[in-house]
Amino acid sequence: MKKFLLVFLTFIFLVSTVSWAVAEAVTITLWGWSPWDEAFKPILPEFYKKYPNIKVDIKIMSNPDVHNKLLTSIAAGAGAPDICGIEIAQIAKFASKGGLVDLLKPPFNAGKYEKIVVPYKWHESLTSDGRLIAFPWDIGPAAVFYRRDLFQKAGLPSEPASVQKLLSTWDKYIDVGKKITIPGKQWMIENASSIFYIYYAHQDFFDKEGKVAVDSPRALKALTIAKKVRELGLDAKVSMWTPEWQALIPDGKIATQIVGCWFGGFLKTWLDPNGAGKWGIVPIPETPGLNWGGSNLAIPEQSKHKEEAWKFIEFALARKTSQIAIYKAVDFFPALTTAWNDPIFYEPDPYFGGQKQRLLFINIAKQTPIPVVNPNDPMAESILMQHVANCLDQGIDPAKALKDAADEIREKAGIK
């Protein structure tokens, strides 16, 4: 028995030394949220073929967890992954010096990709002192998703070309809303605040000089329209992501939803998988170049495998075939403009009644201006949307609501 044990232990020892010798491979960890495991699945086999010595360990957490854990591990000086996902809404938090590597510096030299990334996304990812702290992945060109069947029932045209004319201005949008809305049964939009929000999705709360810009004429116009929609009873007063909203959308009770292009992926996969042929997409009235959402990949300073991490980021985000594979898998719209000439963008999409919807989003992305990003954006967004809700719910004058919001943001951000 003793002899057996000795042989056994020797065997274990031998095996472990052998595997130690073979496995010189580097494992890089990547933090992200669902469905990133699905996103990288189609490109990983090829990556492993090209870089047999790099293993990628993808850890999926909830979206707020990824950002909070990254922040705490940067603060603690340990525990950060080699690659971390950052949603565009959160990027401002990480803009202060330290924590994440500047990808424009050697050995990364990400600057060479500037001309093939859509300009607004590139600038959105830059800090005010010109560092690139996270590489652009996907964008969220925004549009109006509409229900063809509800437009038809109201005796309106339902093909994208004619709906685009029908919804070419916000006044026309309100007119259509009056025809479609049946109080207590179906509504033009889920919540009037979404009309305002699409103009201020994570950005432009401050101008280039850092002054508060939420009481601009543009904001006033958007809020005035939203208030009119609310007063006419055209919205269901339901908030996005609530269980109720998740029931109203597939039931065909909401005629339009104004969101980023990722909404198409949500509709197909979990929100309304049986809704093929019922949805169409048109640009947002008057201001087609708007964006909501998108994410980036960053390399924390703590990482011991920065070069391997950068190899993966380059392979996944700066390479056309990877971006197309990810787009096909999870509908993450590539920020990489070289991917946009792929045949998939010219294919009709059966879910959207044969509409060439992907081409539409390229056009929207091309028209999107460069946004202004500020470290105080998350705070400004919550305060602004609070005052917008107050305006819509309590009938406060839009100009006053925006002035109050601007005052409060100034006070909290400590600026004049």
Partner: protein, 302 residues
Amino acid sequence: MASARDSLWYQVKKNWLAYLYISPFYILFVVFGLFPILFSFFLSFNSWDGIGKMQWVGLSNYVALLKDRLFWRALINTLVYIGLITHIIMLSLALIIAFLINSEIVRYKDFFKIAYFAPNITSSVAVSIIFLTLYGVQYGLINYILQSIGLKPIDWWGGTGFWVKPAIMILFIWRWLGWNVVIYLAGLQSIPTELYDAAKVDGASLFQVFRHITIPLLRPVILFSVILSIIGTITTFDEPYMLVGSMGGTNNAGLTLGLYLYLTGFEWGKFGYASALSYLMFILIVIISIINWRIFSRRPTQ
């Protein structure tokens, strides 16, 4: 030397094995309890975004907080609505239910104990989602019932935010009622049955028994539950966060101190400010607990 033998270090050295056995708790407490407590106290005098350099700002975080409209809104929401009103309703209900379960007129006592306690051990997130469904504006069960008996549906999240508070309060009471019932039941069972029997012989009614025997003898238990409830209230987070989000919904009607702490710290990245807020909350808890202790520890008259 005798004094060296009595010294703490000598005792520790002599009984090192015993100290080793109990050390895991203390090590974990120092790392996850004591350090954050001291560090956040230090942070409350600094301005820090979590990544960059800390900047010593003295008392200015505290001064800014006392001028902050949202802080006062959160304080009033927490203390008056969720604190005072909810707890008066919840604790009195819990006391009555515990008294009834404990009395002889109720059968299947274990069933009721489990039924009242079950909400407390379910996940607060899951519960909040179920309540969101009940509170639906267009599709909600409550509005459906109201409309089918000819009443106007409730605009839960809109208007001046009036209904936001009841929505949170109902969920809060539903969730924590059973917990208090169990505490009161334990307290009730320690009251000698002779007292009840004597009262019965004297011909006391159920209400008289409740008023003159149960409540006075339950005083320490009530104090315990009130203090725990106050601490729980001041740190309320899950329920309002799930129902109305981190700004507390329209008019900040559901903004609690716990939510505001999360908002300023983790969403806005102002960790110094959030730490100052947490210390104000701590002071508040201490003050309220002392007041409670004073009120309840007075010896009952007679």
